[in-house]
């Protein structure tokens, strides 16, 4: 799954550690999501959307057409 997490985070000048603290997860988790190595759970995806004041669809995009 593709995502815009790194761009959105950079726009706000947040470090991975700062975003992780806002989300209540580890920095490794933020890093893994950003790099597309790990797809977040639904609660975490909602948490990310809430932190950036966007919808999930505006942040995450499926790899395939579906």
């Amino acid at each position: 799954m593709k995502n815009r997490l790194r761009v959105l985070r950079a726009e706000r000048e947040w470090s991975q550690a700062e975003l992780a603290k806002r989300l209540g997860v580890s920095r490794q988790t933020v890093n893994a999501v950003e790099n597309g190595k790990y797809d977040p759970s639904l609660p975490l995806a909602f948490g990310i959307a809430r932190v950036f004041e966007l919808t999930i669809e505006e942040i995450f995009e499926p790899d395939g057409s579906g």
Binding site: V7, A10, S15, Q16, S26, T29
Partner: protein, 155 residues
Amino acid sequence: MHANTDDRAQPSRSFLSFLSWGCSGDLSDRDRRALRLFNRWLLTWSFSVGAAMVLLAKDDLIATPVLRWTIALLPDLLGIFAVLSYVRFLRHADELMRKVHLEAIALGFGAGLVFVLGYRLATEIGAPPLDGAEPAAIMLLFAGLGQWLGMRRYR
């Protein structure tokens, strides 16, 4: 556009992180407390198993059957507390860490099962019988390997 430079900063490695195979670098306070509790139970359990083995080996020192049974069973009780504290840690852990730990447990369990069943067949063709500790060692070894691989994969 670039994110802040501290993205690649590596958290300090404590003894606690060493005990959890290096994957507790930036734990939340709650995870850190839960992991610390688990590590304490694990150490207590391990120590009790070693102490019980030493004591039970001395037949003349502790001859009362009730006392011998108590010494033999006490480590099991401590082991149950260790397992429960690990389950509690997993239940509340950061979701990526939980995934890594669960995959590692699956690898350890699978390796232990393959080893036990495989060795059972090997005894049919002359392999010496096991004394019981080997499957546990295999499971621990592969669980540790799985955790190391998991942390590398998601690093």
